[in-house]
Each structure stands twice: as C-alpha cells, then as structure tokens.
C-alpha cells in the first residue's frame, strides 16, 4: 500500500468522489487555481473546471449558505473554510439552517453538505490560525463532526462524509497535513462515521482523544512501554459527534483508568462529554478518577514560541500524565 501524506489523502478523497458523482463540487476561498491556502484542492479545478471548483468571495457565511442551498437542490457540496478560525461568520448558517433542515421540514428536505475546516495550532499561527472550534459546534443535534488523525482515516472519513445524507463538519488538523503519513489503499473504501478506532492495545490505562494529540500519546506510550513496562490503550474517537459510546465504554472498561486528551480547551470540550458518559455508565469499572489533559482555558493560542509550546500538548506532557495515572 502506498504511504501518503494526510493532506494528499484529503485531496484524493475529494478527487475520487468528484469523479464518482457529478453532483459533488468544491467551493471556498482560493480553492481554484491556487488550490487553497494549504494546496488541499490543488489540481481539482484543472481536472473538473470552474463549474465544479468554485472560488468564493471572502464571506464564510455565503460559502456555507450557498452550499446549503445547493445541497437542498440536490447537489453534494464540499464547502472549504480556509481556517476553522474564520468559520464563525458561517455559524448561523451551519447551526440554524444546515443542522435543522431535515428536522424542521419533517424529513421532506435534507442537506448533504460537507464543511471542511483546518483546526489546530503548533504552526506558529497565533490567534487567527490556530483555533480548535469543536466545542462551538459540538452538542448541536443534526450535525455530524469528524476529526481524523491519520491519512487513512482522513480519506475514508471524507468519503463517508460526502456520501452522508446529512451535514458533516470535517475538522482536518493543519499540523497533520505534511507531518502525518501512513498507508492508504488505492481502492475505494470508507471509514464509517460514528465508529472509534483502537490505535494501540494496552491494559494499564486508556487514553481517549482525537486528531493531532493522539500522535503525542502514541509516542509517549512507546516510551512508557520501554522505560516502565506500562502499556497504554489508545482510542481514536475519529467521530466526535455522534460519539461512539460503546467504543468508549469498552476501551475504558479494559483498564479502569482513563485520560481524555484534546487541544481544544478543557472547559466544555469534547472531553467533558466523554467523561460524563463514562461517569454515567461505568462507575463500577473505574479504578481511578477520570482525567483530562487539554488546552488551557485562555482566550487564544499565543504567537510567541514559548507561549505556544506552553499552550500545546506534547509528548512530554502526555507521558507525565499517563505515567501518573498508570501509577495511581
């Protein structure tokens, strides 16, 4: 199987779905000739033309709104938000329109859109290029939210999102774009939305997360295994809405100790809901307090490198927290 970059997996998924289904089209700021600010859509306009790869004005609300209208008229739009930091003007369209169309029309209408938005920091991006806005959209019934951590999942989940009959927000991690490479098969496949994935088997503690921080957890787990004989069980949520409840409970019951990680800040984040599910269902299997290791509750990612480093999770922070919990 070829080993490709995370960003190539996303581009391939769009290319293949556009070849498979003429209703699929891409829209966003500079997605055309430039191929997007990260080159995620590079070459798509050359292959599919300006009618199917549309350069949009600098108006995220319009990008989402036009995509929603096109979806209701039978198209399958992929709306690109250049950075997830810029998607807040589109929040009303996404939460009040896309998420509610099927419900408020009593199933007469649907809205099969995909909104792609790069999340995450650690790229020297500061306030406007580093945010993790998952918690803004999380908890909105009617929306599905996926956040892959590997190239394999990025391709499979994006294809599943495009084929899904309801709105899906696809949070791709910009730090993963060129950093993460893994094996991705040539043949068509999808990764089902709503299924978590066990990245590593272990019996001493469970780490649950999504997107980039899982790679720190994997590195930390390898070191803990070699240095201390501690084996971590690592679960990639992959889909953060709807959460894979059974997958979470199974992974936690395996060790009785759970550390939930994400880059989004701690208060009101995905981890809070995961912790609540575990607390509600699994009290008698817990061997230690549920723990979370997340971004700090500060307004923004600092632009100065020491501040950015302090804000972000990394292998060392993960290792410390995992060791502490394993020893509890």
């Amino acid at each position: 199987m070829p080993v490709i970059e995370y960003i190539d997996a996303i581009r391939l998924a769009m290319k293949e779905e556009m070849e498979r289904d003429s209703d699929v089209f891409v829209m966003g700021e500079d997605v055309g000739l430039k191929g997007g600010v990260f080159t995620t859509t590079k070459g798509l306009q050359l292959q599919f033309g300006e009618q199917r790869v549309l350069d949009a004005p600098l108006a995220e609300s319009a990008i989402a709104g036009v995509a929603i209208g096109a979806a209701m008229a039978g198209m399958k739009p992929i709306a690109e938000m250049q950075y997830s930091d810029f998607m807040f003007p589109a929040t009303n369209q996404i939460i009040s329109e896309a998420a509610k169309i099927r419900y408020r029309s009593n199933n007469d209408w649907d809205c099969p859109i995909v909104i792609r938005a790069p999340i995450g920091g650690g790229v020297f991006g500061g306030l406007y290029h580093s945010q993790c806005p998952e918690s803004v959209f999380f908890g909105t019934p009617g929306l599905k939210i996926v956040a892959p951590s590997t190239a394999y999942d990025a391709k499979g989940l994006l294809k599943a999102a495009i084929r899904d009959p309801d709105p899906v927000i696809f949070f791709e991690n910009k730090k993963c774009y060129r950093l993460i490479t893994d094996e991705v098969p040539d043949e068509d496949y999808i990764v089902p939305i709503g299924k978590a994935n066990v990245m590593r088997e272990g019996s001493d503690l469970t780490v649950i997360g999504y997107s980039m921080p899982l790679h720190f957890a994997m590195q930390a787990a390898e070191e803990l295994s070699q240095e201390h004989g501690i084996e971590a069980h690592i679960l990639d949520l992959r889909t953060i809405q709807p959460l894979d409840r059974e997958g979470i409970l199974e992974a936690v019951a395996k060790t009785g100790k759970v550390l939930i990680i994400h880059e989004d800040n701690k208060t009101g984040g995905i981890g809070a809901e995961v912790a609540a599910i575990i607390a509600e269902e699994l009290l008698y299997d817990l061997d230690a307090p549920i723990r979370r290791l997340c971004g700090p509750d500060v307004p923004a990612m600092p632009i100065n490198p020491p501040g950015e480093k302090h804000f972000l999770l990394n292998k060392e922070k993960l290792k410390t927290a995992m060791l502490e919990l394993a020893r509890y």
Binding site: N107, K174, L179, H228, G256, Y284, K319, L323, A326, Y328
Partner: protein, 465 residues
C-alpha cells in the same frame, strides 16, 4: 556560580513547517555565543535564515552536522551557560522542562511501579491503602477476594484493579482464607466457594448502568407513514394527509379567510336545452365518439356572459383589480377522494363540440392521474357541475385567487307558472359565490341574468357547428 548545559532546538520558522536543514555552522565548539548571535544558517521549504542563539554561553557541541535535515524541536547543539546558585537549585534536576515538571519521572523515585511484584509487603498504614475504587470493589465481590489480603501497588499503597486481578488469578486472597487459620489458602481453591455463608456478593449480572439517554439508541429518523392505520383498542383511526389533500386544505382555507364571500342564486328554465340535447346526443355520439352533456352548453353560456361583463374574469390585487383578457374556465372535477380544477384554455374561442371534447379529455385524464401542471394553471373563472351528484343548491368556495365560481345544479322537472298558466318545465339552479371586494350584487345579478338568457335561448333549431 554553577555551570549548566542547555540544548538549543530547531525552532518553527513558519506555518506548517515540520523540518529544516542546517546549511552551515557559524559558531564552532569552544566559541563564546551571545544572546541572539547567529549560531548557524538553516534552509527550509519556505525560508532560509540565520538561527539566533536563545542563550548566552560557550558552545560545547554540535549535535547535528551541516547538510542534515531534522524535525522541528530536535536538539541541534549544546551550550554551556552560567547560572546563579538560586536558579540552579530549581533546575539542577536536568535541563529538560518536562523532567522538572514531573518529579515522579526521576529515576530516584523509590515507589514500586505498576508492574511491581505482588509479593511486596502490605502496609496497612499507607495513605491510600483503604481507598477502594469502584472497580476494585466490583472485582473483589465477583471473585470473592478479601481486600485486606491484597497487596497494593498503586500510589500511596492503593490497591489497584490490576492488584485484584492478580490476586484473583493466584487465588491468594480468597474470602475466608484468613479466618480458617493455618491452612494455606492456595492449596484450597474451593475454600472461597465453601465459605460462601459470609460472602455477600454483588451479582455482576445486575445492570449497573443507569441513565436512559445514553443507553437507548439515538432516535431513528421517522419515515413518512402511508395510508390509514388502526390504533388498537381505540375508537378512532388516523388517515395520513396526502399531498393533494394538503393542497386542497390550504387553498380552501386561504380562500375563505382572504376573500369575503357573497352568495347568490338564480333559477333557469332549461326545457328547450334538454330537448335540444335529446335530439342531438345520439348523432353526436356517433360523429364525435363522446357523450354530449349539458356542461359545454353551460360553459358556452357562461363564457359569452363573461364577454359582456369582463369584471367577472378578474383578481383582487390589493391596490388594483387585474382583469384578465383570456377566458380560461377552471372545471371542478371530483374524484373519489379529491377535487381538481383543470383548465379549459381560451374557452371563448371554442364552440360547443370543441368544449365538449376538452371536457371529456380533462375529466378522463383527471381520473387517470394524467394531468400535467400546465393543465392546472391559468384558470380565471370556475364552473362546477354539482348537479352531477344530485345537489340542487350549493354554496361554493371561490377557487383562489379568482373573482367568482358558478355551480350548475341538478335539472329538476317542476310546475312553473308561465303567463298565469301552470306548466311542467325542466328547471335548474345556478349558484354564484363572488369576491365582494371586486363584485357587488348588481353586476352579479346582471351577469347571472345574461347566463340565464344565454341558456334559455338554446332551442331545437340551435346549430352546434
């Protein structure tokens, strides 16, 4: 003053940059380096730059050679710095930030690891010794473990879930094995079961998950259910609304709420028309292949009257009245469960046989569900043959947004006074509902009189073609 060795790492110079190449070392081992002084030149995909030193001191060693590419964050050289005694105390544990942040990672930590042997001594005074987690209690109950006999390897001597599992496997801490005294418990694997009298187990099969929301699956998206369904044990049943029923309902409601309806009726003597039809119908059937009904005669009479009173062919537009030039007659056609109003276009340009053919076609296609959208659009005045189902009087609702609707009731033979003599005549009622915003009694009275004259002027000499 103490010496300290600092690692200088490859910084992130631009967004989405993951690695960089060292082009040339400016400072060599042994050189003194000042803060912000260039250490080396580096190359990346995006920029080529000098790397400034983050500390002041003496360069000790290059960790990365010229031309080598390394990931962001990798240590590239060591610099020896001088630090004051005060700060050296807090940092002499090591140069790595993570290490200072976590004293438990120090190799000097004497506490046993998770994987430590279970044979370690049981210290009943350890601070966490008697803190049992739910998992520990559950497993102890399931396996009949006496927790006081289980060594705790967790933080502060806590008994971990794994400690209980190890004890269960080795059978070394079975309940009752302490009180039996003397007999080595490991030799009696059945001791736990035998001492079940004082063993109060929690049944592991009793479900302990309690909340509803997360136990139940997400509500399924309902599919639209079709047709009538019985609800058992109830004196009623439901019929789902079909799209056409829904359209009828909303149009009717819109019409009666928006249009102030007025109603009037006129009686017409159609004896001559009845005789005319009686004379022509067999011939017509033979020639045209369709039945000759009263409707084409009525529609012709109505259309001619509209020609004289064009205001009947109008719609209310709030600040004006729009009068339509084309006379397109909507014909109410009833089916088993609905009523539809297909349109006879430009009815004023058609003669009686032409209208008869059009009616026959529209009625047949309505009953066969073969109407197209254009068949239903553009009507300007509606005629309804309510007599076909035996009505002699009806109060129709206007076909929104038209100005009026006329019904043709049953033809009934009645004794009628003509010139002070009683005669038996074929009589029919025509009922008219009108939009009182547009039309008043006088104009409608005249219009109906004209329809009446037109109908009564048919006689045995009338030519169809």
């Amino acid at each position: 003053m103490a010496k300290q060795i600092i690692e200088v790492t490859m910084p992130q110079l631009a967004e989405s940059l993951v690695s960089a190449t060292i082009d040339k070392w400016v400072k060599q081992p042994g050189d003194m380096v000042d803060m912000y002084e260039p250490l080396c030149d580096i190359l990346t995909d995006k920029v080529n730059a000098e790397l400034p030193s983050t500390v002041r001191g003496k360069l000790v060693k290059h960790l990365i050679g010229e031309g080598e590419t390394v990931e962001v964050g990798t240590a590239i050289c060591l610099i020896e710095t001088e630090v004051s005694d005060q700060s050296s105390q807090s940092t002499d544990n090591g140069v790595s930030e993570a290490a200072t942040a976590n004293p438990q990672m120090q190799p000097s930590a004497s506490r046993p690891l998770v994987s430590a042997s279970v044979s370690s001594a049981i210290d009943s005074n350890a601070p966490m010794r008697h803190r049992y987690s739910p998992a520990v209690q559950k497993l102890a109950a399931e396996h009949g473990i006496d927790l006081s006999l289980v060594p705790g390897t967790g933080e502060g001597g806590r008994i971990t879930r794994k400690d209980v599992l190890v004890a269960a496997e080795s059978g070394s801490a079975k309940l009752g094995s302490a009180s039996t005294g003397g007999a080595p418990s490991s030799a009696q694997p059945s001791a736990g079961a035998a001492s079940a009298s004082h063993f109060v187990p929690m049944d592991p099969k009793v479900p302990v998950r309690s909340t509803g929301m997360h136990l139940t699956e997400s509500p399924r998206i309902p599919s639209v259910e079709s047709q009538a369904q019985e609800v058992p044990g109830r004196g009623e049943y439901f019929i789902d609304i079909t799209p056409i029923r829904n359209t009828i309902a909303s149009r009717m409601r819109q019409s009666v709420t928006e249009i102030p309806h007025a109603w009037t009726m006129i009686e017409v003597d159609v004896t001559n028309l009845v005789m005319l039809r009686g004379k022509l119908k067999d011939d017509f059937q033979r020639k045209e292949g369709i039945n000759l009904t009263y409707m084409p005669f009525l529609i012709k009479a109505v259309v001619n009257a509209i020609k004289d009173y064009p205001i009947m062919n109008s719609i209310w537009a709030v600040d004006k009245i729009i009068v339509k030039r084309d006379i397109n007659i909507s014909l109410a056609v009833g089916t088993e469960d609905s009523v539809i109003t297909p349109v006879i276009r430009n009815a004023d340009q058609k003669n009686v046989p032409g209208i008869a053919h059009e009616i026959d076609d529209l009625v047949r296609r309505t009953r066969n569900n073969k109407l197209t959208l254009t068949d239903l659009q553009g009507g300007t005045f509606t005629v309804n043959n309510t007599g076909s189902f035996g009505s002699i009087l009806s109060q129709p609702i206007i076909n929104y947004p038209q100005a009026a609707i006329l019904t043709f009731e049953s033809i009934v033979k009645k004794p009628v006074v003509i010139n002070d003599m009683i005669a038996v005549r074929s009589m029919v009622n025509l009922c008219l509902s009108l939009d009182h915003r547009i039309l008043d009694g006088v104009i409608c009275g005249r219009f109906l009189q004209r329809v009446k004259e037109n109908l009564e002027s048919y006689n045995l000499d009338t030519k169809l073609y």
